[in-house]
Amino acid sequence: MSDKLQQIINKQQNQMTPGEENMENIVQLVGFVVGEEEFSVPILSIQEIIKPIEWTRVPRTPGYVLGVFNLRGTVIPLIDLRLKFGLPSEAMTENSRFIVMKNATETAGFVIDRLTEAIRLKKHEIGPAPETSMQEKSMIEGVGKQDDKILTILKVDKLLERDF
């Protein structure tokens, strides 16, 4: 366990020193679509990805908190990213998934429209978040440039933070 942790720490440290083009300098991301746009989160913050299952509404929460669901005996909050991003709600489809993300303190499921792919980006291919979203509140960690498209990388800590 601590080995793994050490690896992660090493990796993060390496990421902070740009320029070195070794394997350690590559960030692995999982891409997904919400609405029209493609987003991604670091693969290390994803616990698992499951197909939609039944959930229970929790009253007196903001609309984007759909409720809670049972993930093998653990009760986990479910958040609809469409609503969280201010997009109109849409029924779930064959392609919808729950991405279960976690950080040190919290675990939650996020509803996304569909998965795209696992992405490897070199550190220098990731730019800072756009000026307008540099504030504290921003959920954007950075922007990845890949061939012809632009990929928004989300801050997992921000997503998992209760803001109501």
Binding site: N70, E106, R162
Partner: protein
């Protein structure tokens, strides 16, 4: 260093355990200052702590306990008589000792606490005070040889200590023989009693002899007996000498050295003394125990929780399987296994729960001391009677219950029990009695606090509450006596005219209420003027796994802790009245305020045609409320799970649990609901007028709405044509999924559904059973329209909740009639036909 830590841990655990008993012993000692068994026990604590702390280099603690030991040693040698003044100092030093131990626990050092003042007072007692005190007592009782007495005892004390150590060692060896000891004790006692009447030299010689004998003797039996004998006698040794000799002398002025004449006097005492030492051996019969880290128990409890959930699920699956494969042979076997698993799980759960149980005596122990201090402070005479201290309850609850009890007892002392003068005026004995009693009642433990004081006057309480702006006059008018008693729990409420050290700030009882609510407990107060007050705290035995009542509202389910459910009633909607914008109902002779669970949890009430409602009467602490629900599902054992930080502390939700079907059900936070009910806008009665769905009044044919669900466009057309003459509104859907979505969107309120059976994505049967899952569609007529005409098909239709079954082809008239009948169409048909 680690070794040191380990020793330190043991030392702390032992010391705290010793001290727990200490307070009670000390207070008792004040009543029976001559009870040497007690004195010795107390002395032993000081001695043990002193020994260990000096070994561990806690100088301050050693210093303090050393002086305590001196005082106690003198006391048990009868050189000083413990009176209230001395007791105050001793108690103070015990408090300091506790504080020091706590500091050591937290910082591993015994610094930062000033003990010198207390030490001085202690040494004043040993040196200065004692000659003042002792001569008086001794002069009264000892006629002949006061001067000779003292030095002799002083000489003896060393031997005493030695004997004491010896005894302690042997006590341990002899623990398993405790029973026999107890039996032998009586016999031994009579023998030993003679020592007390021997002169001191003789006693010393005797001890010498015993020691030699012991060394020489073969181990087991002999030693055990002697140890047992020693247990009492070496107390009497010293104890009866001072305490009794004088009496013997007083009754017969013969020198104590002659045993014969003293015997009768001494014989009377042993009988008495016998009773007191009796509990001592039982206390030393240590049961075989292991210390277990509470975390491990918590973990075990969590695992059991998972197991209970698994069991629930298994039972559910078993039921399903039973239904499906009725009459199959393997069913019986499955049944057996499921029952065994379920039985064992329940037993296991109880067993683990028991490992977490502590006797409530742990909490009760501190109250004798508290009452003593309070009664001195308040200048009243109060006695505490404790019973049922062996009643057990969960560790987490034991930890929570202490504070509320402190406040209740303080309240009883201050407001309940009257001053001595008033008590005498009222014709009561001058000593007020506060009773503290614990007992089991079903799945609850009841802690009852009684006092024989002045009682509470509901009218006066109301007056004060109005004065302080706690309630309005109107509220006061409709308040029952019990509710008025409940006022004492309101924050800011106090009947004390002035703020004293003990009470009057209006905080304490509020704490009681909050803590008891946290435990899902109920407070019940009965009070009679001039007779006293009885307060009952009813607390569930455990917190992790609870019994819950499952209720339904629309298509949602909630679990209510059964501990808070007083009863459930089925009422007609017209039994609900509105008072000051609040919904209330009459429940026997009480007025119960009502709140609809849908209002609290913002459940959209789409369909609500039933004339009846179920009211779950909730009781928590001292308040009651009626919660209106749509359905009562049943009782189930649930395990409380946290919903994580993200959803922690949502209003009205205490947590979640996983049900037998794998779904999550939320657990209602009864305390929060009671708070929310005060502010939530009531629509309980509003719904009667406005209504929704089918209860909406129909003024024209087009108010009726029917959905046609068929994948064939032609078939939909045929049905539309057939129904058009009725003038009703028609909505079309092409398959089950679409129909379900239209229905769920709540945009339309349908009076009936026409459903084709063969459809892509979701067929008619599935659609029907899906729809019937929702409470609000329970009475929505579903009509199958299909070309399948087999009997089995019809059966399936009925099973899935269809009310009619029309086979294609059909005549338009027939369809019309079936629809009309099902939607209760009351308009004359348009002339088109």
């Amino acid at each position: 260093m680690d070794e040191f830590q380990e020793i330190l841990q043991d030392f702390l655990v032992e010391s705290f355990e010793l001290i727990e008993q200490l307070d009670q012993d000390l207070v008792e000692l004040e009543h029976r200052p001559e009870d040497l068994d007690l004195l010795n026990r107390i002395f032993r604590v000081a001695h043990t702590v002193k020994g260990a702390s000096s070994f561990l280099n806690f100088d301050v603690l050693t210093h303090l306990t050393h002086h305590m030991e001196d005082v106690l040693n003198k006391a048990r040698h009868g050189e000083i008589l413990i009176d209230a003044g001395i007791m105050d100092v001793v108690l103070e030093s015990i408090d300091l000792m506790k504080a020091l131990l706590t500091t050591i626990r937290d910082t591993s050092k015994d610094e930062g606490i000033e003990v010198e003042a207390c030490v001085l007072r202690l040494s004043a007692i040993t040196n200065g005070d004692s000659p003042v005190d002792t001569p008086v007592t001794e002069a009264a009782s000892v006629v002949e040889e006061p001067a000779e007495d003292e030095p002799d005892y002083a000489n003896m004390s060393d031997d005493d200590v030695e004997a004491e150590i010896q005894r302690l060692l042997e006590e341990r060896q002899a623990a398993d023989k405790a029973k026999r000891e107890a039996k032998n004790e009586a016999v031994e006692e009579v023998e030993e009693v003679d020592y007390s009447n021997m002169s001191d030299d003789d006693v010393e010689a005797e001890i010498q002899r015993l020691l030699e004998e012991r060394q020489a003797a073969d181990k087991a039996k002999r030693e055990a007996k002697i140890a047992a004998g020693e247990d009492v006698p070496d107390i009497p040794d010293t104890n009866e000498a001072p305490a009794e000799e004088p009496k013997a002398e007083a009754s017969a002025p013969v020198p104590a050295a002659t045993p014969a004449p003293a015997a009768p006097a001494a014989k009377a005492k042993p009988a008495e003394a016998e009773k007191k030492p009796a509990p001592a051996p039982t206390a030393t019969t240590v049961e075989q125990t292991i210390r277990v880290d509470v975390k491990r128990l918590d973990h075990l409890m969590n695992l059991i929780g998972e197991l209970v959930l698994g069991k629930n699920r298994l039972i559910k699956i078993n039921d399903d399987v039973e239904e499906r494969y009725e009459g199959e042979e393997f069913l019986e076997e499955l049944n057996q296994v499921v029952s065994i698993v379920s039985l064992v799980t329940t037993d296991l759960q109880i067993a683990v729960m028991k490992t977490r149980m502590l006797p409530i005596g742990k909490v009760f122990n501190k109250f004798p001391r508290m009452i003593r201090d309070l009664s001195r402070e308040l200048g009243k005479k109060i006695e505490l009677e404790i019973s049922g201290e062996e009643t057990e309850l969960d560790k987490s609850i034991v930890e929570e219950i202490g504070d509320p009890l402190v406040h209740i007892i303080r309240n009883s002392c201050d407001h309940g029990v009257e001053s001595i003068e008033r008590r005498l005026e009222a014709g009561k004995s001058e000593t007020g009695i506060i009773g503290l009693k614990a007992y089991n009642e079903g799945n609850h433990i009841v802690i009852q606090i009684t006092d024989d004081g002045a009682g509470m006057d509901p009218d006066r309480l109301k007056m004060i509450a109005i004065d302080k702006g706690v309630i309005s006059e109107k509220e006061a008018d409709i308040m029952s006596d019990k509710e008025a008693f409940g006022l004492i729990f309101r924050p800011g409420f106090s009947t004390a005219a002035q703020v004293t050290n003990v009470s009057g700030r209006g905080v304490g009882m509020d704490v009681v209420k909050t803590n008891i609510e946290k435990l899902n407990g109920i407070i019940d107060i009965e009070s009679e003027l001039e007779k006293g007050t009885v307060m009952k705290l009813k607390i569930p035995l455990t917190l992790a796994i609870i019994q819950a009542l499952l209720v339904g509202v629309q298509e949602e389910y909630y679990a209510i802790p059964l501990a808070s459910v007083l009863e459930t009633v089925r009422i007609n909607k017209d039994e609900i009245y509105t008072v000051e914008n609040r919904s209330v109902m009459r429940l026997r002779d009480e007025v119960l305020s009502l709140v609809h669970i849908a209002d609290i949890f913002e459940v959209e009430r789409v369909f609500d045609s039933s004339e009846h409602a179920y009211v779950v009467v909730l009781g928590l602490a001292e308040t009651k409320i009626g919660l209106i629900v749509d359905t009562l599902v049943g009782q189930e054992e649930i395990v409380i799970k946290s919903m994580g930080e993200y959803l922690h502390g949502m209003d009205g939700i205490a947590g979640a649990t996983i049900r037998g079907d794998g779904g999550v059900t939320l657990i209602v936070d009864v305390a929060a609901i009671m708070q929310m009910a005060k502010t939530v806008k009531s629509s309980v009665t509003a719904e009667n007028g406005a209504g929704s769905g089918s209860s909406r009044e129909k003024t024209q044919p087009s108010d009726y709405k029917v959905m046609i669900i068929d994948d064939s466009k032609t078939d939909r057309k045929i049905m539309t044509m057939a129904l058009k003459p009725l003038g009703i509104t028609l909505v079309e859907a092409t398959d089950g999924v679409e129909a379900l979505n239209i229905l769920k969107s709540g945009e339309h309120h349908f009076d009936a559904l026409l459903i084709d059976i063969e459809m892509p994505r979701m067929d008619g049967y599935t659609l029907a059973s899906e729809i019937k899952k929702y409470n609000r569609y329970k009475s929505l007529p579903l009509i199958a329209v299909t070309s399948r005409s087999g009997k089995a098909d019809r059966m399936r239709g009925v099973e899935s909740g269809m009310v009619e079954y029309i086979t294609k082809p059909y005549s338009p008239d027939y369809l019309q009639n079936v629809v009309k009948r099902n939607i209760k169409f009351t308009f004359a048909q348009e002339s088109a036909s």
